[in-house]
Amino acid sequence: MPKRTDIRRILVIGAGPIVIGQAGEFDYSGSQACKALKSEGYEVILVNSNPATIMTDPDMADRTYIEPVTADVVAAVIEKERPDALLPTMGGQTGLNVAMELAGSGALDRFGVRMIGADVSAIRKAEDRDEFRAAMLRIGIEVPPSGLASSVDEAMAVAESIGYPVVVRPAFTLGGTGGGIASGEDDLRRIADFGLRLSMRGQILVEKSLVGWKEFELEVMRDCKDNVVIICSIENFDPMGVHTGDSITVAPAQTLTDREYQDMRDAAIAIIREIGVATGGSNIQFAVDPKTGRMVAIEMNPRVSRSSALASKATGFPIAKFAAKLAVGYSLDEIPNDITKVTPASFEPTIDYIVVKIPRFAFEKFPGAKDELTTSMKSVGETMAIGRSFPEALQKGLRGLEISCDGLDARGERKIEGRDLEECLRVPNSLRLFAIRKALRLGWDAGRISGLTGIDPWFVDQIGRIVEMESRLAAAGSLERIGPGMLREAKRLGFSDAQIAAIFGGKPSEIRAARAEAGVRPVYKIVDTCAAEFEACTPYYYSTYDEENEARRESAQKVMILGCGPYRIGQGIEFDYCCCHAAFALRELGYEAIMVNSNPETVSTDYDTSDRLYFEPVTVEDVLNIWEEEGPIGAIVQLGGQTPLNISRRLEAAGVKILGTSTEAIERASDRDRFRELLIKLDARQPPNGAAVSTKEALAIAARVGYPVIVRPSFVLGGRAMEVVNDEEELAEYMERALEASEGQAVLVDKFLEDAVEVDVDAVADGRQVMIAGILEHIEEAGVHSGDAAMVLPPFSLRPEVIAEMVRLTVRLGLELEVKGLMNIQFAVTRDNQVYVLEVNPRASRTVPFISKATGIPWAKVATKIMVGCKLQEIGPFDFPKRPRYAVKESALPFARFEGVDAVLGPEMKSTGEVMGVDDDIGAAFFKSQLAVGCRLPTSGTVFISVKDRDKKEAVSVAAGFQKLGFKIVATRGTAEFLRRAGVEVEQINKISEGPPNVLNLMEKGDVHLIINTPSGKYPRKDEVRIRTTAIRRGIPLSTTMSSAQAALWGTDRLRKSGGRLDVLPLQEIFGMCEERHADRRAEALAPPPPVG
């Protein structure tokens, strides 16, 4: 059937900020969908609050709304744009839920919008646990015994009847949020209570736990002619009980016979038909009893998902792109296979390699959180590796994960040193691979390991092959004593040069040289959807140690872009955005872009993004191999975050030409002493500081610069282990911990500038000229990590001379460091308007996509062009928006995932993603930014205020402000008295320890609508923590700094004035159509200074 002509305008809902369980994969699928629909001639309207996405680039959709993905805001967009259809399946659970709300509220009917892909009834059947169960029974597919509960008591009754252990699954939530396994009544009481609160409709499913069964997933697609195909089968390395997002997963399935696989395939086809997903992709999960082969269906996602992104990368079959085409009426046989060009998409990909996905965790970021894997997802990123054997793929994945191991090696095993091995095997955790390694090395029986872990014996045996090879190498003792045959064998099992070198006690470069001499080199094979049955037109490669090399040497001018590897807190989608733009820029200039990355949740690893894609770990060895294979003119390392930067020196030493800012300049900015010299030379101020390798030294420095001081280990990412300490006692205690962890590295001690405003300045430079891209004023005061802080562009409180000084310093630093490309400078401005330089990063920073979206100029593209030799003057002119608006960046925080972890911002970064709120008014922009991270500021009700002494003065004006807007103010004694004395009417309530009525009672009753609670110190009182964690759990807006409380006041004020309505405006209008020039001060602040040089 040809495409539909009865629809013209299609609304696509994006997934919003990156959060645990919903990450970059939805940018990948969303951008594919937008591109596919646009290329078919449809007008695409997009709503997504996440500015760090490629899909929100102004040329991806026709009308791009960077607005909160909530039902009311999307309804406002619908009212304005009047789309004919809504595609709800590209924005993850968020997109689906918002679409369901819009349908429920009648907004879709009111404006005549049809859902395409999956409709309301299909979504409900798949998502509503009871309906799903009933549907499965209708088609004779077994599901685990279960019952629905709307209260804790009901949950207990269900568990009683089906028997413990049970799994709690809240309806309509994301990534298993609020779910868990309860082995007894106490567990269940707690988990059920939490789950009921988080479920969109106060409903949970209590299900018989199948812990220990094998878990499989099938990615299924259906078209309007009812043709159904399976794109990929996935086997979870981890058994049931571990969320599939936290499991190591493998494609294709490894341990199913054809009979079992076909039964599963039949079931999947029956399920997608019964649920009634009209067109598009779905993910269906199954559990299989390893003892009997009995199969049950666990759940179905009627949309593209993390697994479908993985399946797309694993097979070369672009699920989201084709799902979009199917949604507008094409059938699978009408769509050509992208890779072969000559065969249709109505087939099932077959692959001739093995794919392993390994999740990456961030437990170290959340003290108090247990490293335990359950049904609630906790990983923050993942890496995917392709190989021709399981050990090869697994070890490539491990070294791409950047968790200080070069494979399944001794370095990794050290992480579990001193821990009970049996416990490490029995309770699933992020280090289980190393526990298996250790157990095998100690001679534990593989059957016992399999029994303890629930991991299939086949996988344990494959790990055994790695362990055996390592002991063979160790027994040989040196490189000279193994021949090329054994070296090749080790490489075929995925051993890295570094891993082999560690076994022999040598250097990786020696192994590399020996390999070169013996001719043990990797070959590159193509991911082609068809196991070589047809010729592939797409250069999508992976390396392996086999005979035939398929990489095609071409003479074009090529540039290599090094990607960011797995996402982690501190290095997220922002860097992938930059790498994609590098590829776009290179294409514009006629270069071929070679992309190297190992992260499947990215747009950069879409084979459409670059000219040649190498799905490989971003390590020295793997990058050098590609460099030698391809012979590019240079490599771009400054856009992919720390991952490429960390290896840039070693790459350069091995002959790789680094494009743009020199590694020397990067080092000059990061080496503490040289940086200090640099600042002195440029007459720039820096907070007094020092480096200490002992507690005594640290105390001496602190005494010299004065408390409070900010302390951190040197060479860390995302403010890892960074803290503000207030006195000697705290410092001594910190040093004890830090020295132990930092393995002899120095600890940096800086004077902490209290009450200073932090400012980020991003700029591009070509060596001769420096251009300011944007100036971002933080809302939170200095001390909150810039990755977590809310920021505003343009600055809202800085004086012109302060801005001028920051511009002057930026230009001087850019010229002095001969920056060619991007740079980011963090300033602190004290109350007396002194400007201090905190940090200079001559590379792309996290804020580049945000600034690009706020200014309408693709800065990463500009930087890339500079890196290959263009000058700023040739790239311009730069059209900054004529009508300045406020853009607020806010961070999405994962506290709700980690039960019992205090929800306080500090110098250590904790956020997983970001959103942007844009409006003429700063209050409305802030309100939008809060709404976009799931926090709806109240326009009436009660505000609870409890602040530390230092904040009390400021609390008065905030409290008075809220009171003026008609809010009731409640506070505990100390704050209440202070406010009352200042003339604010306050209702005093008990402290928690004093019993009811205290704030917790009010919160539980829903009588508090905003909480302003600033932490009292490094060791917050227990009461505070309980208030904050309860707020997170109950979803009550929470301000932990006075400045964000102030901003909340602005937002509330503005919303009351506009009667609760938010204006929505697409980027295309912000950048293109408005001519008027505002003459107020905000305009001056935004208007960039001309290039200086």
Binding site: N227, D258, S346, E533, E535
Partner: protein, 369 residues
């Protein structure tokens, strides 16, 4: 103890690997199969007689072997080539590892070679004669022996795999409404199971059985099975089928399909590298329905050679447009080139067994539920 094994192609290309099966040396046509599972069914499919099978999926043997998944009495392939054979079998049904299974049954098997390179070679040069050996490592000598070996069309492989003597299957289960004769050209066990499950009692006859012998079973329908080699070699069967075309409903699969094409006066030809896998899309032209099918054939029916008055092409392969199904316009007979019984492969096309049954019912004036 590791033992070397080599593969040589008639055009001189040689791959050295390790043995994981029996010792020996075998020649045959080298072909590749793209199924990711179902290796035991492939090994035991008589259609592979005369062929050395290369699996494109690199990890083979993971779930071991089980007597239940045998498609015939033991392995039929001349040789078996994989990237990596699992040393451990993990599945609740597994009895033997693949290594044990092959070694016990005398199959020469090679692992540790670049199977993708072999596949690409076959893709570009076409299926060709080859040799697998654990006895000789000299590439030139091996290639020469491969070249000198008889080709598929020089052997009547069907006579090698057809049953010794005609027999009747006894299947106790279910009501049997129809009696059919299966011409065994190397019939897979799954086909017989599915015919029986559709309510047929089955008499099996040799591929060279006469029309008289077939009819003496008083069948309601005739089934022509899959089988190995070049259909043009089976002239005896073609003429038998021609004699029976108007007599009773006929259903043919794979080689059976080719035989029916020949019986209709058409020609068959050799495909460059054949279709072997579990992911081939086949479109039914009348309905537009697409089935993902299991395939295993190196020859195809030439549509230009068919008389459109007599035979209609009902199915085509969406990969390359080749004929995948035929329907006789003047006789109750149809055939498909692919494998509706799958094993290994998707079950999408199992409805064809029902179609055959309906055809017999109609002939008998019966109405089926």
């Amino acid at each position: 103890m590791e033992q070397f094994a080599s593969i040589a192609l008639e055009d001189g290309r040689v791959f050295h690997g390790l043995s994981f099966g029996a010792e020996g040396e075998k020649t045959g046509e080298i072909v590749f199969n793209t199924s990711m599972c179902g290796y035991q069914e492939i090994l035991t499919d008589p259609s592979y007689r005369g062929q050395i099978v290369v699996m494109t999926y690199p990890l083979i043997g993971n779930y071991g072997t089980t007597p239940e998944d045998e498609e015939s009495r033991g392995p039929q392939v001349e040789g078996f080539v994989v990237r990596e054979a699992s040393r451990l079998a993990s599945n609740w049904r597994s009895r033997e590892t693949l290594r044990e299974y092959l070694a016990m049954r005398g199959v020469v098997a090679v692992e540790g070679v670049d199977t993708r390179a072999i596949t690409r070679h076959i893709r570009s040069r076409g299926a060709m004669k080859a040799i697998v050996s654990t006895l000789d490592r000299d590439g030139a000598r091996l290639a020469a022996r491969a070249k000198a070996s008889p080709g598929l069309s020089e052997r009547d492989l069907v006579r090698e795999v057809t049953c010794q003597a005609s027999r009747t299957r006894s299947d106790g289960g279910g009501e049997k409404r129809f009696r059919i004769v299966v011409v065994d050209c190397g019939c897979k066990a799954s086909i017989l199971r599915l015919l029986e499950a559709s309510g047929c009692s089955v008499a099996i006859v040799r591929a060279d059985a006469s029309a008289w012998e077939i009819m003496s079973n008083k069948p309601d329908g005739l089934f022509l099975s899959n089988g190995p080699g070049d259909p043009a070699v089976c002239g005896y069967l073609v003429s038998t089928v021609r004699d029976l075309l108007d007599e009773l409903p006929i259903f043919g699969i794979c080689l059976g399909h080719q035989i029916m094409g020949l019986a209709a006066g058409g020609r068959t030809y050799k495909l460059k590298f054949g279709h072997r896998g579990a992911n081939h899309p086949v479109k039914e032209l009348a309905t537009g329905r697409i089935d993902i099918t299991a395939q295993n054939h190196g020859y195809a029916v030439d549509p230009a050679s068919l008389d459109p008055e007599a035979v209609e092409v009902t199915h085509v392969n969406l990969y390359d447009g080749t004929v995948e199904g035929l329907r006789f316009k003047r006789a109750p007979a149809f055939a498909v080139q692919y494998h509706p019984e799958a094993a290994p492969g998707p079950h999408d096309a199992r409805h064809l067994f029902r179609r055959f049954v309906d055809m017999m019912a109609e002939r008998k004036g019966m109405r089926l539920p």
